[in-house]
Amino acid sequence: MEVTMDPLFLAWSYFRRRKLQQCSDICAKILQDNPYDQSFAVSQCLKTRALTEMVYIDEVEVDQEGIAEMMLDESTIAQVARPGTSLRLPGTSQGGGPTPAVRPMTQSGRPITGFVRPSTQSGRPGTMEQAIKTPRTASTARPVTSASGRFIRLGTASMLTNPEGPFINLSRLNLAKYSQKPNLSRTLFEYIFHHENDVKNALDLAAQATEHAQFKDWWWKVQLGKCYYRLGLYREAEKQFRSALNHQEVVDTYLYLAKVYQRLDQPITALNLFKQGLDHFPSEVTLLTGIARIHEEMNNISSATEYYKDVLKQDNTHVEAIACIGSNHFYTDQPEIALRFYRRLLQMGVYNCQLYNNLGLCCFYAQQYDMTLSSFERALALVGNDEEQADVWYNIGHVAVGIGDLTLAYQCFKLALAFNNDHAEAYNNLAVLELRKGRIEQSKAFLQTAASLAPHMYEPHFNLSILSEKIGDLQSSYTAAQKSEDSFPEHVDTQQLLKQLRQHFSVL
């Protein structure tokens, strides 16, 4: 006869090996078979933990701002922030980052970064109009509020897959009873917070539990802060995190608190906080990374790079730091050095479309032509979705322009548009190629499309201005040049064009 393993032990083993689905299945069976056994409570607890782990995401990283939070912001103290004190006016710092003439910009007017996190995915649009427009051009739609965002969608989906309904029925749960049991309450809290995404119930539980612990448990205070943050009550969240820090210094608490300050648009306070944290935890990588990210978001690229280098001194396999320094070298005209950084990432085992695309570009601009096309081939083989494919073809188009094969370039940009019909850069470049062929109307149409898709880029406006000036339409040339000046005030050619046009007008 076969010896069967104790199901509870097996479930525990599955949990430790992170085979969470199997663990949850076995626990469900135990719960069904012997509801009055002693193993009942244990397996219930285990199943809760397994379900939580399945959807667990690092709360420090998660940050999704909805339209409502952005536009109906109550924490603003001044209409226009002073230079260098706000994350919302990116051009204000004097960091000497590369201009948009060399480094492409994101929608919010920041140079593109070498690494994306959930919070850097889409920048903060400046006006309501832009905010509403954003979802139409970006690949991911911006939610109305962060409470209606990805979390709710994930939560409801996890409900759907379970035909017998939710594992724990929150509305019938006696939160007061569970908050008295310290060993169960934490598991339950994490389940409610991460799996169910029911922040209000989680807040209730945390409030009762912290009361039960006589307001002396830092862990519950941090959880309270997390709930307040999700609900958009930033000042309350700040209070809880501060109080938690008084009980116990923990790196995570510093990170959460800094997140609150970043949301309140107080980057300087966040920087000071990180420095305080570094006093207690010298050379802590996550704190250093936090500082670097803030510098980068404030367009202060040189000091961001300094901090990323500090990060690499502590942890030489930090992907974010390597990628950011690499992209910075690429856009400051040192593709050879960028190539070394990206090769390092390849050595470390990062194997994806983005990396091969970057390697291809670096190889081309560092004149290592033998590797260029094979890198791009690999990038194309590894693409995950249409947007990535469009970007890779767009970059191959640049290589084609570089070697003078304009037919290939034309085809590449067309392909980019076939995969992503909102690729504004491809429209702009296609317009330039069309004009070379002498097709003025086509070129103009492409430029107008590019300008409406990406009003933050100066290139389409500037090109449209030149084109209109050539065909004698001075008025539209002037308006386009003004738009170009708005998005890139330091651009010399735009200024010259404007000056010339003003002279024309004054003569008339």
């Binding site: 995401i57 690092d58 990283e61 998660v62 003439a101 060399v102 480094r103 492409p104 593109i112 970064t113 070498g114 690494f115 994306v116 996190r117 959930p118 850097t120 990805r150 969608r153 994930l154 989906a157 996890s158 759907l160 897959t161 992907v319 974010e320 990628a323 690499g326 992209s327 690429f330 856009y331 990432l345 990062v350 994806n352 983005q354 990396l355 695309n357 970057n358 570009l361 990535e388 970007d391 890779v392 970059n395 640049h398 504004a424 850069e425 491809a426 702009n428 470049n429 317009a431 330039v432 004009l435 880029m457 290139e459 500037f462 090109n463 030149i466 084109l467 050619d493 010259q496 064009l497």
Partner: protein, 92 residues
């Protein structure tokens, strides 16, 4: 003190008119050279604004959290789709 023009005349080196060497770096040599002023070919350069291309785009790498979020969202969408399909089949 010689003017720039005169000092150029004294130089043995044949200088192109558009690349003046700096005055103090020049040795004082007494000889006469011809002044060269090209009359054909590209004599001057006018700065004409040309169309600009958008720049090549390095793709940012994705953080682990973002990848997990995207994966979870994909899976959730798949699950919802399949359940809806199953519901449709049941109702038919």
């Amino acid at each position: 003190m010689l003017s720039l023009h005169e000092s150029l005349k004294c130089n043995k080196l044949i200088c192109l008119p558009f690349s003046w060497p700096s005055e103090d770096a020049m040795p004082e040599v007494k000889s006469i050279i011809r002044e060269v002023l090209p009359k054909q070919g590209q004599v001057s350069m006018e700065d004409v604004p040309t169309m600009v291309l958008c720049k090549p785009k390095l793709l940012p790498l994705k953080s682990v959290t973002l990848e997990k979020l995207e994966k979870m969202q994909m899976e959730a969408q798949e699950a919802v789709k399949q359940q809806e399909l199953a519901m449709k089949e049941q109702s038919q």
